[in-house]
């Protein structure tokens, strides 16, 4: 994004143009090594940004009901996704935002995305929301970032608080905590209907969005099984592509179709025995938390024969592996109401006590036959960084595999030293190979 383009709704306009450019490039010069389904993905992203643009210009309500999507849409809100939007500002653009953050005394020591979204919104690069739910469903920085935006722009907001207990754990479902969350969502709906013009909750619509969310995640569950293939068919970049719920997009049917096509293509790669690690797969690593999105450590690893079948971020691997219940799964043998379902899906891993975050690493490493963990110590993310050693110790004790801690920022690149970063990766790969040899 060039500096000159930054005014008003510059971010959305830029994203629409970028998606169109990418689709045109694929049409003009198709790259057989890239998934054909990418065209659908770019269409989805473009359609979403166009929907936001048009909605904003037409004065339709924008907002964030919860983080999981269906409720936001069924309230009549166009999703406001400033956190993932901030993720796309990596590199020079992120540095430019950090210059503003430092100059104006905005929060600098928190994670990049929760810092950057503040100037993005306050300066009008990203649309002003009509409503914001603040919640600790996941982490405090996201809660605080939404709270400060609501506070400074006098935006109606409603807080939903969650318990740190894993209340949706299969076999240990907690009715009281589910009711706690459901009741709060009910209050939030009343609040939104009373305070945000144009918003009215539509339960039928929520049922429909949740239905597509289920279909979408079911496809992702098929992908999980393919990730276990040796050699690994996915590049590290693909593994690290953050999960975007189907309810984010205006056309959920197309979203499900995209995921179906993508899984089919990955399946074909598995059938042909194609792997990304070159010249052959020697090692499989889990990449945890975040990474330097402005750099490409994955290609560096892949060229050393190292595959990254999965990234560990919050709840996603739980959904993909089937360990976490998804939309439409039974709850103690019964079907949940749409609002209860929304409440259940707010039980994200980082909002829980630490045991869940430790366990998901162990489960992923087992499922995907992994040999080590690269644990990115993301500045300003205490929910992950302050538990790294416990994760490493537990994984070492239970699976006898090592963990590399590597510190940095995910979007702001001014402190990044590629040589230093890669040399740490190289040393770690050597350690993992030695360990693997000794296991054999």
């Amino acid at each position: 994004m060039s500096n000159s383009s930054l005014s008003g709704l510059a971010y959305l306009e830029y994203e629409v143009a970028r998606c169109n450019r990418r689709m045109q490039r694929i049409k003009d010069n198709p790259d057989p090594s890239k998934p054909k389904s990418n065209v659908l993905l770019y269409e989805l992203e473009r359609d979403f940004r166009m929907e936001q643009l048009e909605a904003y210009k037409a004065g339709k309500p924008f907002g964030l009901g919860t983080q999981t999507g269906p409720l936001t849409r069924s309230l009549g809100l166009v999703p406001w996704d400033a956190v993932p939007a901030a993720d796309r500002t990596h590199g020079k653009e992120a540095t430019r935002y950090f210059d503003i953050i430092r100059r104006e005394g905005m929060p600098e020591h928190t994670c990049d995305r929760c810092s950057i979204l503040i100037p993005m919104v306050l300066r009008g690069d990203f649309p002003r929301p009509s409503f914001l739910a603040t919640t600790n469903y996941e982490c405090i920085p996201i809660f605080m970032a939404n709270l400060i935006v609501a506070n400074l722009l006098d935006i109606p907001s409603f807080h939903i608080d969650r318990h740190f207990k894993n209340y949706k754990a299969k076999g240990k479902e907690d009715d009281e905590l589910l009711k706690y969350m459901t009741d709060q969502l009910g209050e939030m709906i009343e609040y939104v209907e009373a305070h945000v013009p144009g918003c009215k909750y539509n339960e039928d619509m929520e049922i429909e969005w949740q239905h597509y969310e289920r279909l979408y995640v079911q496809q992702a569950q098929k992908l999980w099984k393919l990730k276990a293939a040796i050699p690994c068919p996915l590049s590290g970049r693909e593994s690290f592509r953050e999960f975007r719920p189907s309810s984010l997009y205006p056309d959920p049917v197309k979203a499900v179709e995209y995921m179906r096509q993508y899984v089919e293509e990955v399946g074909e790669r598995v059938d042909k025995g194609l792997g990304v690690a070159q010249p052959e797969e020697r090692l499989r690593l889990l990449w945890s938390v975040a990474g330097p999105f402005y750099a490409d450590p994955f290609s560096y690893l892949e060229n050393m024969g190292v595959a990254i079948p999965a990234a560990e971020m919050t709840i996603y691997n739980g959904w993909f592996s089937g360990r976490e219940s998804i939309w439409g799964d039974p709850w103690k043998g019964r079907k949940l109401s749409p609002l209860e379902e929304e409440a259940r899906q707010m039980d994200f891993v980082w909002g829980r006590a630490g045991e869940a975050w430790v366990q998901t690493h162990i489960d992923t490493c087992r499922d995907l036959h992994l040999d080590g963990i690269v644990y990115f110590i993301q500045w300003g993310c205490p929910v992950t960084s302050a538990l790294g050693k416990i994760v490493a110790d537990t994984v070492e004790a239970q699976l006898s595999i090592p963990t590399l801690f590597i510190e940095g920022r995910m979007l702001e690149s001014s402190i990044y030293d590629e040589k230093d970063f890669n040399s740490k990766l190289k040393d770690f790969v050597d350690i993992c190979l030695e360990r693997k040899k000794s296991h054999a």
Binding site: E108, T134, I140, N151, D161, A353, G380, P382
Partner: protein, 388 residues
Amino acid sequence: MKISDTSATMEDRFKALKESNRPENRTKWALEWKKQGKQVMGLLCSYVPEELVSAAGMLPWRITGTWKEAAPLAGVYRPEMTCRYCSHALESVLNGELSFLDAAAGTQLDDDFKRLLDVLIAIRKPAFTYMMYLPHASNRITMAMWVKSVLDLQQTLEKLTGVKITEKELRRQVGIYNRMRTLLSKVYELRKRDNPPITGAEALGLTTAARIMPREIFNDELEELLPYLEHREIPLKRSRPRLLMCGEYLDHPGYVDLVEKAGAVVVMDDFDTGSRYFWDLVEESSDNIIEAIARRYLNKPGSSRMVNWNEQAAQIVKWVKEYDCDGIVELRQLFSLPLDYRFFALIKKFTAAGIPYISVDREYHLANEGMLRTRVEAFIEMILAKAK
């Protein structure tokens, strides 16, 4: 046990009391308690209802992190850029300073605290650590869940100690704690005077002492000292500017002292370790004492982790008026993320109220005094120039 021998002067007794949380004195009361065969629970959050801990026969003892600069043992678990109080508290646990603790408790107030508790649970130091659920907003639904959380704490304490917490004992403890709160309020009331009889650093010494001593002993001593404090005089270079200080996890009086030495009179604070520890009473006449305790803790002046920033700002503005303050100095703990966010909301409110405000980063242990003093001196000069 008395704080100092009876022949000591009142000033000596006051000195002993206000210095109870200095490193050389800090564990004295806890160790004495242990000698009597009783247990000590380390607390990591001012939202844990202390009345319940006391009713179970344990001494609620607020964990002060090591005041030493380095925290090398904690650094293995916690990166540099995380809450400094949590790191220094963990260092105290790991270096053996707190090996006398039978248990620890805290809330998941924010991610730093949640993960600190997770680590203590994982490494089993102390032998038992309890994480208590605390909502970040107060309303009908969250209050009901918070009451349940308080009841869960009660059950946990009963299981841990084998002591049944009776309503009678709980009400007795509420009386003791309310007495402490009332006494500390009286001390703070004295700070409204043109020439306050105690400094801000001394006030912080008192509130941090209250949290580590058997509360009845603290109350008795403070009650005896109050008449003396009412007539005490401290030499002031000048009576203005009068400042309110903000901050969280600030337990080193040296930070308040440096503001006072820079030429200000610190007459009020918005510290979780200060006014927010004792502000508001539990409604003793309530039919349901657990609910009354829960209400007091969730509705007291809030932490920056709570959603009600506007109310927090309004409370600070109210204090500024009541204590006739000329400005606000916030010493924001480095890497305490919620304070970084709330700062922007506070600026908005304080500017609207016409209150001069400065917010400066600080370490947890006393450090960078020269740099901080320069910033505060400049702020004071600005206020004085404006007054002229």
